[in-house]
Subunit: 171 residues, 2 copies
DNA sequence: CGTCGTGGTCTGTTCAACAGACCAATCGAG
DNA sequence: CTCGATTGGTCTGTTGAACAGACCACGACG
C-alpha cells in the first residue's frame, strides 16, 4: 500500500491512522505484539509474510513510534510503545466485528480484566469497575469460537494458552 | 491487497475483519458512508480513487454485506447495512488514535449523542446515559483539530457542517 | 569444527493500483 | 427536440508493491 499509503490531502484522523497501520500486515503485527510476540522470526512464523516485507513493516512501525526495537543480546526484540498500546481499543473493536460477522459460535478469543477477574464486554469495558482497561491489565484465552485444529507450531500453541497481554513470550 | 487479502489459515477475528475492510480505501469508504455519502461520484470526489478500484471496492463491500446497493431512479445509492453500521466502534477508535498520534490541537471531529445532547468521550461512550451509542444517534461537527483550509469542493463543505451520521446528503 | 537459528539483503516475477481514454444512459436547459 | 453535463461505469497500458526464494553474516551449541 505504501505508495498510496499517503492518503494525502485528507484532513481526517482515520486517514492519518491508516497511513500508519492501514498497510497490509501492519495491524496483524500489532495484534501479535499485544499477544507477546517480540522476535522477527516469531512474527514470521505466525504470519507467513515475506522477510523483505516484514523488515519493511517492522521498520515503518518503529519509525511511526508504534513499536520500539531493543537490541537484546544475540537477537532483537520489537515491543509496543505507549502509542502502540493505545491501539488496543481499535484492535479490540475490529476483532469483535470480525467475530460478529464471521463466527457463529461467539468470540474466538476472550479477555479478562485481571484486577476484577471478569471478562470485558463487547465494547471492551469491564462490567465491574466500569472502566475500559488498558491491554496490560488483560488476560486472554481462547473463546467458544476458537478453531479446533491443533496449532501449526509451538509458538501458536503457547499463544493459545491463557496469558497476560503484552507479556513477552521469551526473554 | 486483494491477492493477499485472504489472510488464510489465520484463526483470528482480526484477520477475518481485515479480509473485508483491510484493503486500501475500504475503511475510508465506510467512514464516508457514515458521514452520509451514498453516490459513486461523491465517493470519488472525496477520495481521489481510480474509478476501476472504486467499482471493485464498492462491489466487494456489497458482497461482504457491509454496504447495500439501492437502485434509485437515475443513480445508485450505496448505504451501510446493519453489519456495516456495526463497524462504528472500530472506525471511531481508529479516528481517536489518529487524533492522539497526529493532532496537537485535539480531535478533528466531534460526535454528540443527540438524545442526551453531550459529546461522547474518548472511548465512544456517552457520559450521561453511559451507553456506547450507535452511529445513528450521533451528530458530528468539526473539532478543534480540524484543518483551517477551505474545503476543496461543495461536498466536503457540506460534510463539515454539523449533521447526523448515516443521514444521506442527497435524496 | 560443523550446523542450526537469527535477522536480515537481493533478485526476478506477479499482480493490484493507477492514470486516463472511452462509453451508454439519464437529466436539465434552451 | 436537441445539446451538453452528469452519472456510473469498462478497458488499456504502466508502475510499483508484495511474493518466493536464494544468499549471507553472526552467534550459540554440540
Amino acid at each position: 500500500m505504501a505508495l498510496g499509503t499517503d492518503y494525502s490531502g485528507q484532513d481526517c484522523s482515520l486517514a492519518k491512522a491508516l497511513e500508519v497501520v492501514g498497510e497490509r500486515w501492519s495491524l496483524l503485527l500489532v495484534r501479535d505484539a499485544f499477544l507477546g510476540v517480540t522476535r522477527f522470526s516469531d512474527f514470521r512464523r505466525r504470519l507467513d509474510i515475506s522477510k523483505a516485507v516484514l523488515t519493511q513493516r517492522l521498520g515503518s512501525l518503529v519509525e511511526a513510534g508504534v513499536l520500539e526495537r531493543r537490541m537484546h543480546g544475540g537477537h532483537d526484540a520489537y515491543v509496543l510503545t505507549p502509542s502502540g498500546e493505545a491501539l488496543w481499543p481499535a484492535v479490540y473493536a475490529l476483532m469483535r466485528w470480525g467475530d460478529a460477522t464471521t463466527s457463529t459460535r461467539g468470540p474466538r478469543r476472550l479477555f479478562r480484566h485481571l484486577p476484577c477477574d471478569v471478562d470485558v464486554d463487547v465494547s471492551g469495558r469491564c462490567p465491574v469497575c466500569r472502566a475500559t482497561p488498558p491491554a496490560a491489565e488483560l488476560e486472554t484465552r481462547p473463546g467458544p469460537g476458537a478453531g479446533t485444529d491443533p496449532p501449526t507450531n509451538p509458538l501458536s500453541a503457547r499463544l493459545r494458552e491463557p496469558h497476560r497481554l503484552l507479556a513477552p513470550l521469551r526473554e
